[in-house]
Amino acid sequence: MDELTLIEKAKLGNKSALNTLLKENYNIVKGYIIKMTADPVLSQDILQETMLKAVLNINKFSPKAKFSTWLITIATNVYRDTLRKNKPITELDENIISASDNPEKIAVSKLEYAEIVKVIQSLPYDKRAVFILKHFNNYSYEEIADILNCPVGTVRSRLHYSVKYIMAELEKRGIVNE
């Protein structure tokens, strides 16, 4: 069943269709939130609230964009609200890297990995969101502008800033050579 049909059914109150929609987009949103927060407790809270808000407002969703894009928009807003409320963010756990089946990646030291997480977390949230959405989710500037509700030019400059910042930080920390 395609996404549009599922959305129509979900709007009519079909629980199964709504559940399928949420399950199909679960990993995309989870990945985005995890990269944004780097915190297991916060990620779980935000994911739960995002899903709840999506279910409550399913009738407001117009299928101009993908359902996953809409969920990411909600997740971004929930995360921004959480930051405003100044929820304490726990320290980064160095063991959060999952057991990957790629031996090359396993070989990378935990220290280097932790440094990379620190670099992304030290970016301001709006710039971090742009970088994650562009680099990992491969959204276009226009789509990111819709998600973050800002002009395309702002998205472009935020990405430029983020990449330059990452380059400088990785070089400073000796992860990438000049």
């Binding site: 629980k15 949420l22 780097a38 680099h135 990449v163 380059m167």
Partner: protein, 134 residues
């Protein structure tokens, strides 16, 4: 904006398959090292793809939770409408009584006492018929 900044910005746009100023890159020949640096830096960030936390969320439970919230919200709305309607009706009666005079309240009550018992007759007839049919 410095010349190097312009080159880096164009290279970033190029890396992410977005529209970029090709003239800026054509004018400068030593952009390869900068391009490699950008590639190496952003590719390093791919390590974040391995970040995962072992938690799972029961989506069906969330749907049920949302239903409960919706039901609660609806009942609050209904109560609110009831209160508003009651206040509105009572206010209308109040205004009418003030305009017509306080004596009319007593007349209205007497009329109500006289009419109300009669209104019960159709209900009792309907009830009796129902019993007879059984």
């Amino acid at each position: 904006m410095s010349k190097e900044d312009k080159i880096i910005n164009s290279l970033i746009d190029k890396h992410y398959n977005e529209a970029y100023d090709i003239n800026v890159l054509k004018e400068n020949k030593n952009i390869e090292s900068l391009e490699n640096k950008i590639e190496a830096s952003v590719n390093k960030m791919d390590l974040l793809d391995d970040m995962d936390f072992s938690f799972d969320i029961d989506t069906l439970k969330i749907i049920e939770q949302a239903e409960q919230i919706q039901t609660r919200k609806n009942s609050i709305e209904e109560n609110l409408y009831f209160i508003i309607a009651s206040v509105l009706i009572l206010s209308i009666f109040g205004v009418i009584f003030i305009c017509i005079g306080i004596k009319s309240v007593i007349y209205f009550e007497i009329a109500l006492i006289c009419i109300m018992p009669w209104s019960l007759i159709p209900f009792s007839i309907y009830g009796l018929r129902g019993r007879q049919d059984e």
